[in-house]
Symmetry: C2
Subunit: 194 residues, 2 copies
Amino acid sequence: MYDVFRKYINEVTSSIIPDDEFKHYEEAFAKKTMKKKQFFLHEGSVCKYAAFIVKGAMRLYSIDEKGHEHIVRFGIESWWMTDRESFQMLTPSRYNIDAVEDCELLVTTSEAVARLKDRSPLFLKLMQILDQNSYIASQHRIESTISYTAEEKFMQLMNTYPAFLHRFPQNMIASYLGLTPETLSRIRKQVLLK
Amino acid sequence: MYDVFRKYINEVTSSIIPDDEFKHYEEAFAKKTMKKKQFFLHEGSVCKYAAFIVKGAMRLYSIDEKGHEHIVRFGIESWWMTDRESFQMLTPSRYNIDAVEDCELLVTTSEAVARLKDRSPLFLKLMQILDQNSYIASQHRIESTISYTAEEKFMQLMNTYPAFLHRFPQNMIASYLGLTPETLSRIRKQVLLK
DNA sequence: CGCCGAGTTGAACTGAATCAAGAAACGTGG
DNA sequence: CCACGTTTCTTGATTCAGTTCAACTCGGCG
């Protein structure tokens, strides 16, 4: 598992991490497996852990007063999953995180992250790159949700994250796009026979 | 102008920046004023500068094929304004940025930012905090756009950024929320007489 | 084999967009 | 400092994209 992680770090930072430096990473991250539908975070509790997804698929979502789920983020291999706000501030989270498929994770805490940032400049760099990319991706998503029609949103998703379409059931894709499953089903039909 | 900036840095990082360290900031940031409606960034060009807003109000927006503007971000005093993606990667931007009011800015380049990060650990910390906060705010906005009705979105804005309502004309607020000006006008009427 | 969740399809409904016209507010130049 | 043109905001009537509700199909799992 750690070798996947190591390869990922080398790629993202365009560096080669030395053995002795990588030892700190192994200390900071613990292996964890999750079964499909198992919860990583429950609404109301503090998100003590952040996970690097080695294998599997997860989602982060809120539940409104009417009991409807709204998926804010998906995660698959080589993505991170945590409620950033709760993880850093140690405040209770408004979100749920659960496994959509069986998962293999590397999990860490915010203290371990802070320690690792001190010990490994490469990790600091990694975090900066991730933050920046996450922010940019969020901006794109915001633009898409305020600007586009249902069909355009779906097309955008197809282009940006085609893998999602095979990994997540349609009702979840619909929730992610802010649509009903029925609407997505109809749109998909239209789009596919073009 | 620089004293406002200095105070801001002290506040955000919960530190007191020494005189000699702050000298680097003065080198890295240049004063700039902008008249209302003047452009800071035109779609298609590289966003070479990032601005700290000392005074005034700005917006970042895209224009779709039908010529409609979609406001992705607002900025007022003590906010930063740039197209993060274009600024960092030096790629052509898909956005426009202009002044909604006359502005006083402190502007910098990505090289100057990189240099300052090396010279001032405090600035590095500042950037990390900003990235994180921006990301968290983006998540909230995404959640709100996919989960809420027009009225709920407006209420959320009223609670989160009440200052925006006085600073930006309603048609811009509408665009920011992904609504038409007409819809916002009607919703406002409803909400206010409750 | 049977059940259950996921996806599809149809019909009726509704929240928000569009189109259009007027009122109010704003700022610019004479 | 007023007058005129421009932009912003409101209001009404109509349309439409997407939701809701409901029934049915399909595929997988126990």
